[in-house]
């Protein structure tokens, strides 16, 4: 859930929405478009996001499971989206060496920061799940994912009481600019189907789908499920990270709650 100072934190996101709208609307302004650029209108429309989060969490419960599918329904190719071939030199080096030098850092508000290699992650107890991936654009794809349950890693690191969000930092720069990142609250992070997947359809996770490790948060839309993970940080508040909205797309106007 958003902290109580949510409204002040929402300001940059609204400004982004306004700027984007203004930029696009120079082509010709309709009356309805003018409303989409009005601060107070967008602020009002935003109320639905908090309502969605509260009502949907209540209905689904903290532990309600996303549907899982039989192996016969797995898509032959799992459609990649967003970054599909990160070009950052650091990432290219790691990929050239099959990610043997890559490590996942888990830090921030934890008692024991972790630094794990791919082999160490693969040695942990893993969950395998065949789930449906829903893109915010509207399409869906079904794939089989395997990896350790995030809650296990959080328990190993010992989450401190003031921590509220888990921030996922990535190695890809979408559009060649900012690094991708995302965040979940602790409740969604501890969901039994929230895993860090190193495998797709029984193969090592392909680069197009986020190698070496990606997040799966099965009750959320695709943009929450950060690919190319490099580190996971527990924070009390994400307002000082990048654009301050809790994610790459959130900084570009998308809602932080991605359950609908």
């Amino acid at each position: 859930m958003k902290p109580s100072d949510a409204s002040s934190r929402d300001l940059p996101r609204r400004r982004f929405l306004q700027r984007a709208a203004l930029g696009a609307a120079t082509l010709g302004l309709a009356g309805c478009d003018r409303l989409s650029q009005n601060d107070r209108v967008v602020e009002t429309l935003d109320l639905a996001e908090r309502l969605n989060l509260r009502v949907q969490r209540f209905l689904a419960g903290e532990r309600g499971l996303a549907p899982e599918y039989p192996a016969s329904m797995i898509d032959e190719t799992f459609r990649p989206n967003g970054s599909t071939d990160p070009q950052a030199p650091h990432y290219r080096q790691l990929a050239a060496n099959q990610f043997r030098d890559w490590r996942l850092e888990l830090n921030g508000l934890v008692d024991n920061p972790l630094s794990l290699s791919l082999a160490e992650l693969q040695a942990m107890p893993a969950r395998t799940q065949i789930t449906r991936h829903d893109c915010v654009e509207g399409w869906s794809a079904i794939g089989q994912w395997r990896g350790p349950v995030l809650a296990d890693l959080l328990d190993r690191a010992g989450v401190q009481s003031q921590a509220r969000y888990v921030v996922f930092h990535c190695m890809d720069q979408l559009g060649g600019e900012d690094y991708y990142y995302e965040s979940l609250d602790l409740s969604e992070s501890r969901h039994p189907q929230t895993i860090l997947a190193y495998s797709l359809n029984d193969e090592p996770l392909p680069i197009a789908n986020g190698a070496p490790l990606r997040l799966r948060a099965e009750r959320q839309l695709g943009y929450k499920m950060a690919k190319y993970l490099s580190s996971i940080t527990l924070v009390a508040d994400f307002s000082d990270i990048a654009g301050g909205e809790g994610g790459y797309w959130e900084d570009r106007g998308y809602t932080w709650y991605a359950g609908i």
Partner: protein, 323 residues
């Protein structure tokens, strides 16, 4: 139950229940009361159980509120559709085989052509679907700018509008459904009589021939059926298929996926039923125009004059002549 034993004593609707009171009492038709609005019977007396406005307050309020909700939901919905202008059946998207898709191709002469593929058929829809916009500013997009909210491609803004108005629409709809059940509106004005169920075939033929001007009281069978279909089938299906596209709701109510045949089917049904609601509105507007648009709109704004069943009949006779 026959038409005559089923009475609509207090209903002052547009078209009526097949040849009921009015036709059997031609004397009233012969002496219409002029100036229906200033009808002395319509004010002053307080026999509330008999004297009812044509459209009650809640009906009018919901009607106009819904109009705005549905416009915003349609336009923002098409904005969301445009983010991936293709529809599928089942759980996941078979990208090679959408049943409906809008896209653009470059023709042999270098021109961009907007196309819409529906099942095995492909149509050139340049300017409307697939590729549209003013000269020099045309772009590849499913539906054209004039029908999406916002006009330019901006998925997240479309989602903000859509979800906010979905809450308003669902809330008002739930309240209205309760009202229709509890106030008797459903039973009195919308539910078909046995005779109407039996006369549906003839009603359909009459409507196809645009024979709409018979002097009747209340709604006819076909009208009632379309209102019932919209209120208790189409609108709830819109809400349920909408929710069925939410991954968190899928965790809360997986049976919704079974009900609609998977998330992509739910998205398709959401789109098809939205289209049928647009069709309903077009027919609805056509009927309003054909049956005295000024009176119809006035009555939906003011409720129409308060009338007892007798004065209602005479007034209807009056309108019959006017039409």
């Amino acid at each position: 139950m026959s038409t005559s034993s089923r009475s609509f004593p207090d209903l002052a609707g547009t078209h009526a229940d097949a040849v009921s009171a009015a036709a059997r009492e031609p004397s009233r038709l012969a002496h219409p009361t002029p100036g229906a609005d200033s009808n002395p019977h319509s004010s002053g007396t307080t026999n509330a159980s008999v004297r009812r406005r044509r459209h009650s307050g809640p009906v009018r309020l919901w009607h106009w509120f819904n109009l705005w909700c549905l416009i915003v939901l349609l336009m923002s919905g098409l904005q969301i559709f445009n983010a991936h202008p293709a529809l599928y059946w089942g759980s996941a998207s078979d990208f090679a085989d959408p049943w409906l898709e809008m896209y653009a191709i470059r023709g042999a002469d270098g021109d961009v052509i907007g196309q819409t593929a529906l099942g095995p058929w492909t149509f050139d829809t340049t300017g409307v679907l697939g590729y549209s916009g003013s000269e020099g500013h045309a772009s590849v997009r499913g539906f054209p700018a004039w029908i999406t909210l916002p006009s330019y491609q901006f998925l997240t803004m479309g989602r903000l509008w859509h979800f906010f108005f979905a809450w308003l629409f669902a809330g008002a709809g739930a309240l209205f459904a309760l009202y229709a059940l509890l106030s008797g509106h459903l039973k009195r004005d919308l539910w078909l009589s046995t005779a109407q169920w039996q006369g549906l075939g003839r009603d359909i033929l009459d409507h196809l021939r645009l024979r709409l001007h018979t002097a009747r009281s209340g709604y006819n069978g076909l009208q009632k059926l379309s209102y019932l279909g919209v209120l208790f089938v189409a609108l709830p299906v819109m809400i349920l298929t909408g929710l069925c596209m939410s991954p968190t709701i899928n965790a809360a109510a997986p049976w919704l996926l079974d009900l609609f045949g998977g998330r992509q089917s739910a998205r398709s049904i959401h789109f098809i039923v939205a289209g049928s609601l647009v069709l309903f509105v077009i027919v609805h507007l056509l009927m309003v125009i054909l049956s005295g648009p000024i009176r119809q709109i006035r009555d939906m704004l003011t409720g129409g004059p308060r009338r007892s069943s007798a004065s209602a009949d005479t007034e209807r006779g009056n309108h019959h002549e006017a039409q």
